[in-house]
Structures are given as structure tokens and as C-alpha cells.
């Protein structure tokens, strides 16, 4: 009898232990409830030059960002909440940019911009000090890396990115001796130096650089100087409207091999086409988006852009802040950020970390990986301009 009681006790004890163990396991495996998003709307400030000399560029950057917000909201928002891009005008004035950034760092999770370089230099340090990510998606790595890890670059290093483009152009069009026009602004002289490396790799000779400032009004003297060196190829790295004038001046002095004129990416702007018109036909331009791609997402973007811009093709920078907004969406959703003001510091950090090494980001036109804030495997393209439109010539990677 006693033996039976002891047996029963043992069984009960064993069952109790089993019950406790199962309970512990079940409690441990119970899915944690997702943190609740506290904002009613995700507000993303965009420090942009909406007025001033580059207002026309600021306009389409803003357009791209708002287009992304529109699409995201149509599809249900970010973590179920709508997103709004708030344009903050800095008018290309650093003294305005710093005040606007100072206000933004009080509340924003992440900021788009600033645009352009003078405002970046003045205002981005404020974001760095407050550990807030700013997405300067229109400037070179050489500017953006100054503010790492609170910034990411949209472009790989100039010295890696540009030489293959110049090399392929020189090789494909049989260019042997090149003169380069270089606008004296920001990263352009550095880009011009990178072109020269590409020319060397192609076995072409760089005859010289002709520098010019923003206040040059006529280009006869510069073009004559260039032609006097007897080049068979020309690279132009300067303001879009002035690039167009240089092309026109070259043509008026008998230049006929239009494919032996290479325009750089920063010249690919509405001002190039409105100033140059049909005189640009046949010139080659390099850039980072392929406007002839045929995907539903891109077609929708292109159609919407052309509707709002009198049929003009979207400039390549117009997609940058579009992608930036989507990147923010992904970062928020992957990290479970709530928008709780009390957790601002830690959530900013989560977003920044998510972006710095984001893998397989689905951009509007291609996917890419970020590696410590630097994009990898982004393509470059050579296009030929014909009647105001770019026709793809070649895709170049690495």
C-alpha cells in the first residue's frame, strides 16, 4: 500500500514538473506583441532649395519624394500610418538651413536632404550632433562621408564610379585626345579628375582642362582655346545650361562628331535640354537611371512626372528622394519603430543602423546593397541624346 502511495506521489511530482516545464516553454515561445505605432502620421522633413537659383532642381526633388509618399499612402502607409513629406525651404542659404535643421532635430526621426552642398556643410553637423540620420541623396560620397554614420551616400566613391564610364565612352567611340571643360563648383573638379583616370585606362590622352565659373556668359574664347588643342573628344563637367552653350559653340565652330562629346551626370537637368534643344542631338551623357526601362513602377512614375512637367523626361535626380522615402519606410517597418517622442534617440539609432547596411533595397529602377553607408553594385549608363530624350547606349557596372 505504501509502495503504491509512493508511486502515485512520484507520478504526480513528475506530472507537476512536466506541467511547469511546458508552461515555461509556452510562456517563452509566446509571440511578443508588436510595439504600437504612436504617431497618426509619419512626418518626414525635407530640407530643400525650393527657392533661389536651383529652385527648378529643388522642385523635382520634392516631387519625387512626394510621389513616393503618395504611392506608399495608396498602399496603406508605413506600418499602417500615412506618411507626409514636409518641404522645408533653405533657399540655398546656410544661415536659413541651420535654423531649419535646428528645429527639425527636436522632433524628426530622420530628415531628407539638405540640398545642396553649402547647406549640407552648414546644417548636417547639427544632425550629427543630435544623432539623427540625414539622407543627402544628391551629393557625392566625398561630402556625405563627412557626416557618417548619420548620413548615407547615394553614390559610390567618385574615383571608383566615374572612370569606367569615361573609359567605355572613349573606347566605344574611338576617342584618343580629350579636352575637358570643368565648372568650378563643389565636387566637379574631383569628378573631372576621375574622368581623366578613365581616359588613361582607355589609352586616351587628356590634353587639358578648361575651367570656367558660373558667371561666364559667352563661351567663344573657351571653346576656341579647347579646339586649338586639337582634341577629337570633349568632356563637359559643368552647369547644365552652360554645358548646352558649350555644345552649341562647338557646333558653330564646325564640330560634327557629336558622339565624341560626353556630358557628365550633373548636367542632366531640364536646363540642359531647354537651352540646348536639337543642338544636343547625338551627344553622349552618362547617368545612373535608365529612363527606357519598362517596368510598371517606373512607367507609372514617368507618366506622372511627364503629366506634371509638360512632357519632360524625369531627370535622373528625381528618383533619388523617391527611393529615399521608400528606404525610410523599409527601415521603419523592419525595426518596429513607433514614432514615440520619448524614444526618439533610440529609434533614430535603429533607423540609421537599418539604413547603413540595408541589403537588396528595391529602388525604383534597380536594387542595391548599402555597405557602411556606401551603395554597392549601382549601375551607370551611357545615353545618347536625341530630340530632348536619352536613348540607352550601354549599362556599365564596376
Amino acid at each position: 500500500m505504501q509502495k503504491e502511495i509512493r508511486m502515485k506521489k512520484k507520478v504526480l511530482f513528475f506530472l507537476l514538473i512536466l506541467l511547469i516545464a511546458v508552461s515555461v516553454v509556452m510562456v517563452g515561445c509566446k509571440k511578443e506583441k508588436a510595439p504600437k505605432v504612436v504617431v497618426e502620421e509619419w512626418e518626414i522633413p525635407f530640407l530643400n532649395s525650393l527657392t533661389g537659383v536651383i529652385a527648378s532642381i529643388g522642385e523635382y526633388l520634392q516631387w519625387g519624394a512626394e510621389r513616393a509618399a503618395f504611392e506608399i499612402n495608396e498602399a496603406g502607409g508605413i506600418a499602417g500610418k500615412p506618411v507626409k513629406v514636409i518641404g522645408v525651404d533653405t533657399a540655398l542659404e546656410p544661415q536659413k538651413g541651420v535654423v531649419e535643421m535646428s528645429k527639425i532635430v527636436d522632433w524628426a526621426l530622420v530628415a531628407l536632404g539638405p540640398v545642396p552642398e553649402p547647406v549640407i556643410m552648414a546644417a548636417a553637423p547639427i544632425a550629427v550632433e543630435n544623432e539623427m540620420m540625414t539622407m543627402t541623396a544628391t551629393t557625392s560620397l566625398e561630402y556625405a562621408e563627412q557626416f557618417f554614420p548619420w548620413s548615407i551616400s547615394w553614390f559610390p566613391a567618385t574615383k571608383d564610379r566615374l572612370p569606367p564610364l569615361a573609359r567605355v565612352w572613349a573606347e566605344d567611340y574611338g576617342v584618343k585626345e580629350v579636352v575637358q571643360f570643368v565648372g568650378t563648383y563643389g565636387p566637379w573638379p574631383g569628378m573631372a579628375a576621375a574622368h581623366v583616370e578613365g581616359l588613361k585606362a582607355a589609352g586616351a590622352t587628356h590634353l587639358g582642362d578648361i575651367e570656367f565659373g558660373q558667371d561666364v556668359v559667352t563661351f567663344g574664347p573657351l571653346v576656341v582655346k579647347a579646339l586649338d588643342m586639337k582634341p577629337d573628344g570633349i568632356i563637359i563637367a559643368g552647369w547644365p545650361d552652360k554645358a548646352a552653350k558649350i555644345v552649341q559653340e562647338l557646333k558653330s565652330r564646325g564640330w560634327t562628331d557629336m558622339e565624341k562629346i560626353l556630358l557628365f551626370s550633373s548636367a542632366d537637368d531640364a536646363a540642359l535640354y531647354t537651352t540646348g534643344g536639337a543642338d544636343l542631338n547625338g551627344t553622349i551623357i552618362y547617368n545612373y537611371i535608365n529612363v527606357d526601362q519598362d517596368t510598371p513602377r517606373w512607367n507609372a512614375f514617368k507618366e506622372a512626372y511627364q503629366k506634371d512637367h509638360n512632357g519632360l523626361q524625369p531627370p535622373s535626380l528625381s528618383t533619388n528622394y523617391y527611393d529615399a522615402v521608400y528606404m525610410i519606410k523599409r527601415a521603419i517597418e523592419e525595426t518596429g519603430v513607433t514614432g514615440d517622442p520619448k524614444k526618439l534617440k533610440e529609434e533614430r539609432k535603429l533607423i540609421a543602423e537599418a539604413m547603413l547596411n540595408m541589403k537588396n533595397f528595391e529602388g525604383l529602377l534597380f536594387n542595391w546593397d548599402m555597405s557602411d553607408g556606401v551603395p554597392t553594385n549601382k549601375p551607370g549608363y551611357l545615353f545618347q541624346i536625341q530630340d530632348g530624350r536619352k536613348k540607352l547606349v550601354k549599362e556599365i557596372r564596376g
Binding site: 556668359v217 573657351l222 576656341v224 565652330r253
Partner: protein, 294 residues
């Protein structure tokens, strides 16, 4: 040698821009005692008006010219009372105040052009206005119709205005009103009508200059006026304020100097070198190379 000749021709072309603008600037000074620092911006505004008319009239050059002239005249007439008001307490040309006033006018014009026309983008004029092919091309030397027209008209404008102001009765009346309105009234010159005519004359010249610049440059942008304003002022000062012939000579000389600097030294240093040369001239000849003619 061919390169040098080509650069000199380029210089004359560039210089004709300065001559045209300096002539209009000096005319306003002579007939109204106004230092209109923003005169280039007024001309650029007229270029934009001409462009708009060209767009909507199927490139009618006659209408574009008339529109440019009308807009320039209107701008002059609107700004005239402002200048007269700030100057009424001074007996001589109030350089500083009129300069600052014209700075304000220039700021407004530039910003209106940035906002209200072509989304702030540069504008391009039709190729038939500029001339589709050069009238002369020998190696590097190239001469467009617009270049010849602007230089020729520049010289003619200087000669014509000089003759008008110094050899005709209406011209003497304009100068009399500018120098001494009370004295002019005493000798029977009708102030209102003559004043209106003088502003209208400078407006007509401004409109013509706008069209010539359109032919010469083939494009315009909101910032174009500001880009040349400093040099136009410098040309007028170095020549001697109000000195039309001096403005012609100095304008062309500056254009040639800039072209040679860009061609043989560096494009990015051309402004700095041009201003240094002008500065040196001014230090030795503060009243201008050809003397003030006010």
C-alpha cells in the same frame, strides 16, 4: 595667329554686350541723372517678354521686338518716379541712394523671373533669330549674324545717341532737365513731356538691346543680369560716367581682355584679372579714362 584673331573676334562679341548695356546705362544717366545699377536686369526682363511673345505668336520677330521695347519703356516709366523721389533733395547725382534703389529693383526683377517664367529655367531663343549658320567660318574663326548685328548696332547706337544728345534740340532739352529741372522750366522746356520722352527713349534702347542680346547669346536666364551688372558698372566708371564714346571703347577693350585671359590664361581667373586691370586704371584715373560727361 588664327587663334588670336578668333579670340579677338570673340572679345569684340563679348565687348559688344558691355557696350550695349553701358550705352543704355549712360543714357539714363545723361537724361535722368540715374545710376541704374540694375539696368542689365531690366534688359533681361525685356528678353523674357520677347521670348514669351515669340512662343505665343509662332516666332514673330516684329511683335517680339515691339513687346521688348514696350516692356522696357513701361519698367522705366514705373521706376522713374521712384528715382525722382529719392533724388529730389540732392542737387547732384546721388550715387549711393540711386544705386541702392536700383539694387532693390534688380532683386525684384531677378526673383520674379526665377518664379514666374519657365519654372526658373533658362530660356532659349529660336535659332532663326540667332542665325542657324555662321556668316563666316575660317578654321577657328567664326562669325554669327547676331555678333555682327550687335556690334554694328552698338556702334550706331552710341553715335546716334551722341548726336541726339549733343547736336539736337530735343537732346539738349533732355540734358537740361536732367541737370537742372528748375532752370529748364525757366527757359520754357516742358518738363513732363520732355521727361516722359527721355525715359521712353531709354526704354526703346533697352528693348532693342534686349533683342540684340537674344540674337547674340541665344539664351537668357534669371541670373544673367546680375552676372554682367558689375562689369557694366565698371565699364561706365572706367570710361567716365556719362561718356558714351568712352563706354564704347572701354566696353570693347574689356571684352577683348576677358577673351584673351580666358583663351591664354584661365577661364576661372578672367573676372578677377579683368577687375584688377580695371582697378589699376581707376587708381590712376579716378575720373575715368575719357572723363566724366555729366
Amino acid at each position: 595667329m588664327q587663334t588670336f584673331i578668333a579670340q579677338v573676334i570673340n572679345g569684340l562679341s563679348l565687348g559688344s554686350i558691355y557696350v550695349l548695356l553701358a550705352t543704355g546705362f549712360n543714357l539714363l544717366l545723361l537724361v535722368a541723372m540715374i545710376i541704374h545699377f540694375a539696368y542689365p536686369q531690366v534688359v533681361v526682363f525685356s528678353m523674357y517678354i520677347a521670348w514669351v511673345v515669340l512662343r505665343y505668336t509662332g516666332n514673330s520677330i516684329v511683335l517680339a521686338v515691339l513687346a521688348a521695347i514696350l516692356s522696357s519703356v513701361l519698367l522705366n516709366l514705373i521706376s522713374a518716379p521712384l528715382f525722382q523721389q529719392v533724388m529730389k533733395n540732392r542737387e547732384e547725382v546721388d550715387i549711393n541712394t540711386t544705386m541702392v534703389l536700383s539694387l532693390g529693383i534688380g532683386m525684384i526683377i531677378t526673383d520674379v523671373l526665377s518664379h514666374g517664367f519657365n519654372k526658373g529655367l533658362p530660356i532659349a531663343f529660336p535659332s532663326k533669330l540667332i542665325g542657324e549658320t555662321p556668316i563666316l567660318r575660317v578654321g577657328l574663326i567664326s562669325l554669327q549674324g547676331g555678333q555682327v548685328a550687335s556690334l554694328a548696332v552698338g556702334v550706331l547706337a552710341v553715335s546716334g545717341i551722341f548726336l541726339l544728345l549733343y547736336k539736337t534740340r530735343p537732346g539738349r532739352a533732355f540734358r537740361a532737365i536732367a541737370e537742372d529741372p528748375n532752370g529748364a522750366r525757366l527757359v520754357g522746356i516742358p518738363l513732363l513731356r520732355t521727361g516722359f520722352e527721355s525715359y521712353a527713349l531709354s526704354g526703346v534702347l533697352g528693348g532693342l538691346i534686349a533683342v540684340l542680346l537674344a540674337m547674340l547669346l541665344g539664351y537668357s536666364s534669371p541670373g544673367l543680369g546680375e552676372q554682367v551688372a558689375h562689369k557694366v558698372l565698371a565699364v561706365s566708371i572706367i570710361a567716365g560716367l556719362g561718356n558714351l564714346v568712352g563706354g564704347l571703347v572701354v566696353g570693347l577693350a574689356l571684352g577683348i581682355l576677358e577673351a584673351l585671359v580666358q583663351g591664354y590664361i584661365s577661364g576661372s581667373w578672367s573676372n578677377a584679372i579683368a577687375f584688377v586691370v580695371m582697378l589699376l586704371v581707376m587708381l590712376f584715373k579716378p575720373r575715368g579714362l575719357f572723363g566724366i560727361k555729366l
